[in-house]
Amino acid sequence: MSDVDSTHAVAHHAPPQGFIRKHIFSLDHKVIGLQYYGLGLVAVFIAIFLSWLMRIHLVWPNSRIPGLHLLSSAGAPGDVMTPEYYLSILTMHGTLMVFFVLTNAPFAAFGNYFLPIQIGAEDMAFPRFNMMSFWTTFVAFCVLISAFFIPDGPPISGWTAYAPLSAVGGAAGPGLAYGQTLWAISIGIFCIASLLGALNFIATTLDLRAKGMTMMRMPLCTWAWFITSCIALLAFAVLLPACVLLCLDRLAGTSFFISSGLVINDQVLPHSGGSTLLWQHMFWFFGHPEVYIAILPAAGIVSHILINSLRRPLLSHKVVIGSMLAIAFLSYVVWGHHMFISGMNPFSSLAFSFPTLIITIPATILTLIWVGSIYGSRLRITSASLFALGFISLFVSGGVSGFFLAQPSIDIYLHATYFVVGHFHLVMGVAAVFGIFAGTYFWFPKMTGHMMNETLGKIHFWGTFIGAYCIFMPFHYLGMIGNVRRYSTFVDDYLQPYLGVHKFITFAALTTGAFQLIFLVNLIYSRFKGPKAPVNPWECTSLEWTVPSPPPWDNFGGVHPVVYHDPYQYGIESSTGDYVMQTDPANIVVERDEK
C-alpha cells in the first residue's frame, strides 16, 4: 500500500496541456487567482457604473439617462429611472460589491495566487476543488447578473434582503418575483463556492508548508488569508441555510420568515407565524464576519507592503497576528449591533453593544502598530505604499464612526441615515478596495512579469484618495442632520438646503469613478507594454520573490524551498543590501539598540 506520503509541497497535478486546461479550466492556483481577480474587476466596474446611475438619479431624479431603457424598459420608461428601479440598482450595487468584489479580490484572488507560494507549496491542497470553487462563483455571478435581463428585473430588497420583503414574492413589488429568487440562488451558490475555497486555504496552510515554514514564519498576509478562511468557513455555513430557507419560503410556501396575517396589496398572505427577525439574525451572523472577510485580507496585504516599504518589521509580529485572531473571534458575537432598531429586546442590544466596543481594541492595536512602525522610518514611496497608507487613513476615519454606531442610544437616531452609509463605505468598502489596489501595484510584476507605470499609479492614488473622502465624509454630516438612506429622491423640506451637498457628492463620485479608468489603462497597458520586471523589484523577503516573474506552473521549478527566517528580515547588513530572504541560510545576529 502506498501509505500516506507526507512530503510537503508535492506536485498535485501534471503540467497543464492545451489552451483550455491552461487558461480556462485550470488547476493552477495562480490562474485561478487571476480568474478571481478578473471576475472582481468586471464586478467592480459594473458596480461603479450602477453607483453613478444612483448618484445621478438622486440629484436629478427626473432627468433622462440616455439608453437606460435598454437596461430595463419597465424600470426606466423614457430613460427616466423609477424609484423602484433605483432600489433594484442599489441592491445589485451592494450585492456585487460585497460578494463579488470585496470577498473575491483581496481574499480569493490574491490568496489563491500567493498563499501557496508564500508558504512554499506547489499548489493548493485540493486543486480540483479550487477550480470548482472559482467556476461555482462564476455561475453565482451569472445567475445574479441574469436578474437584469428578466422582465421582473433585479430585486429591490437591498443586499441584506430583509424579510418579509424578500420572502413574500412578486405581490410586494418589482423584482420580488423571479429577481429575488435569482438573488437567493446566486448567493446560495456563492456560499458553496466560498466554503470550498475556505476549506482549501485552511488545509493548504496547515499541511503544505515548506520545511522551516513554521506558522510564526508565515507572512502577515498569509496569516490574514488563513484567519479569513476560518471566518468564512463558519459564516458562509450559516448564510447557506438562510438562503435555503428563504428559497423555500418563496417557492414552497413555508413560513420561516413570513409572519401570519400579512396583508400586501389588499391580499392576506397564507403564511403563518414566521419570524422576520430570524432572517436578520441568520443574515447578520454571516454579515458581520463578512466585514472582516473583506477587511482582514486587505489589512494583511497592507501590513506586508508597509513592512517592505518601511524596510523594517512592524513593532510586533505576534501582536498583529493576535489582534487579527481576536477580531476573528469577536466578529461572531457582535452581529446584533446591526439590529438595534429591529425591535429586538433592548437588553440584547446592550449585550451586543459591549463586544462591539471591545472589538475596537484589537482594531486600534493594529492601527497603532502600523502608525507606530511608520514613525521615524524612511518610507519608500511607491504606488503600493501610498495605497497602503491610504488604507490606514480610511480604516481609521471609517472606524471612528463605528464607536458611535456601537451604542444603541446613538444608533437608533443614525441607523437609517447616510451616517451608516458613510461609515461602512469608508471602513469596509473603500479601505478594502485600497488594499486591493495596494496588492495589485505590489504584486503585478510577479503576476505578469511586467512593471506597472508608477506615475499613473500615483495619479490614480491621489485622485481616488481625495475622491473617496469627498464622497463619503459628507455622508456623515448628512446622516447627522437626519438624511434618510435608501430613498430615491429627497423631497422633504428639511433636506432641500442639503441638495447642494448631494450634488457635490455626485460630482465627486463621477470624478473618482473616472480615475479608475486610469488604473484600468495602466493595468492593460503595463500587462503588454510595461517594462520587464526583475525577480524581486521591491527587495522583498518572502518566498514569492524567489521565483521567476511570472512563476512557473509548479512555482518553484521542482525544487523544494527551505525557510530559515521570520518573514521580515529587513534593516540588516547583508551582501544583498538591507534584507535577507526567508530562504537565505545566512545567519542573522541582532544587535538591538539598548537605549
Partner: protein, 229 residues
C-alpha cells in the same frame, strides 16, 4: 545572497554560516538565530491535507446544522403554531442501520489495512465489508425516503407546519450528505479493488471520519426531532 532555491535539509540539521548583522533592533521580529551562531532546526510542518480537509469540511457541516437548530428554536418561540408531529417508526430502524454501517466500516478499515500490510492477501474480504457498509448506507437513504412517504401519506407536507418544514429540510440535507458519503465509499472500493492498489491511508481514514460523523449527526438530529418536534 545564497541561492533562493535551497536544497532541502534533513529535519533538525544545523548549519554553520557567516553571520550578517541587523543594523538596529527595528521592530519586534524575533531573532531567528541563537547566539551560538547555529541556525535553528528546520522543522518540517507538512501534514496530510485530506485528513485536515475532511475535518474542516465536517466543521462546516456541523455549523450548518447548528444554524438550522438555532433557527428552529427561534422559530418555535416566534409564534404558537409549533405543532408536534409523530415521527415515523422507520426512523428508529434507519438509526440502527446507520449505527451498524459505522461498525462494518470500522471492520472494513481494519481489513483494508491488513490487506495493505500484506497480512491478508485477499482483496475480497475488505471489498465485501466495504460493500456491506455501502449497502447499509443505501438502506438508510431508502429508509429516509420511506419515512418521508409515510409523513406525506398522513398529510404532513413541507409547508404544513414549521415543524414539518424543519423536519424535511434537516432530514433531506442530512440524507444528501450521507449520499456524498456513499460516493466516498465507492471511491475507496475502486481504489482498493483495482488492479493496482492506490488507496491512501488518509483517504480511507477521511471517508471513515465523514461516515461516523454522519452517524453521530443523525443521532443528534433524531434526539432533537424527538424532543423538539
Amino acid at each position: 545572497m545564497a541561492s533562493a532555491f535551497n536544497e532541502p535539509l534533513n529535519i533538525g540539521q544545523v548549519v554553520d554560516v557567516e553571520p550578517v548583522k541587523r543594523k538596529t533592533g527595528g521592530g519586534g521580529s524575533t531573532p531567528t538565530t541563537p547566539a551560538d551562531g547555529k541556525l535553528p532546526s528546520v522543522v518540517d510542518p507538512a501534514g496530510e491535507p485530506v485528513r485536515t480537509g475532511v475535518w474542516v469540511g465536517l466543521a462546516t457541516v456541523g455549523m450548518m446544522f447548528a444554524a438550522f437548530t438555532s433557527a428552529a428554536i427561534v422559530r418555535q418561540g416566534a409564534a404558537d403554531d409549533w405543532h408536534h408531529i409523530v415521527l415515523p417508526n422507520i426512523l428508529y430502524v434507519n438509526t440502527l442501520v446507520l449505527i451498524i454501517s459505522s461498525i462494518t466500516l470500522e471492520i472494513s478499515r481494519r481489513k483494508v489495512l491488513a490487506y495493505a500490510k500484506g497480512e491478508n492477501p485477499s482483496q475480497i474480504i475488505p471489498i465485501a465489508w466495504l460493500g456491506a457498509t455501502f449497502a447499509l448506507g443505501l438502506v438508510f437513504v431508502e429508509g429516509q425516503i420511506v419515512a418521508w412517504s409515510q409523513l406525506k401519506a398522513q398529510g404532513v407536507y413541507l409547508a404544513t407546519s414549521p415543524t414539518s418544514s424543519f423536519f424535511y429540510v434537516m432530514t433531506v440535507i442530512h440524507a444528501l450528505h450521507v449520499s456524498g458519503g456513499l460516493g466516498g465509499l465507492i471511491r475507496v472500493m475502486v481504489k482498493t479493488g483495482g488492479h493496482v492498489f492506490t488507496l491512501r491511508r488518509s483517504t480511507l481514514d477521511g471517508t471513515a471520519y465523514y461516515w461516523h460523523f454522519m452517524g453521530a449527526l443523525w443521532i443528534y438530529l433524531l434526539v432533537l426531532l424527538r424532543l423538539k418536534f
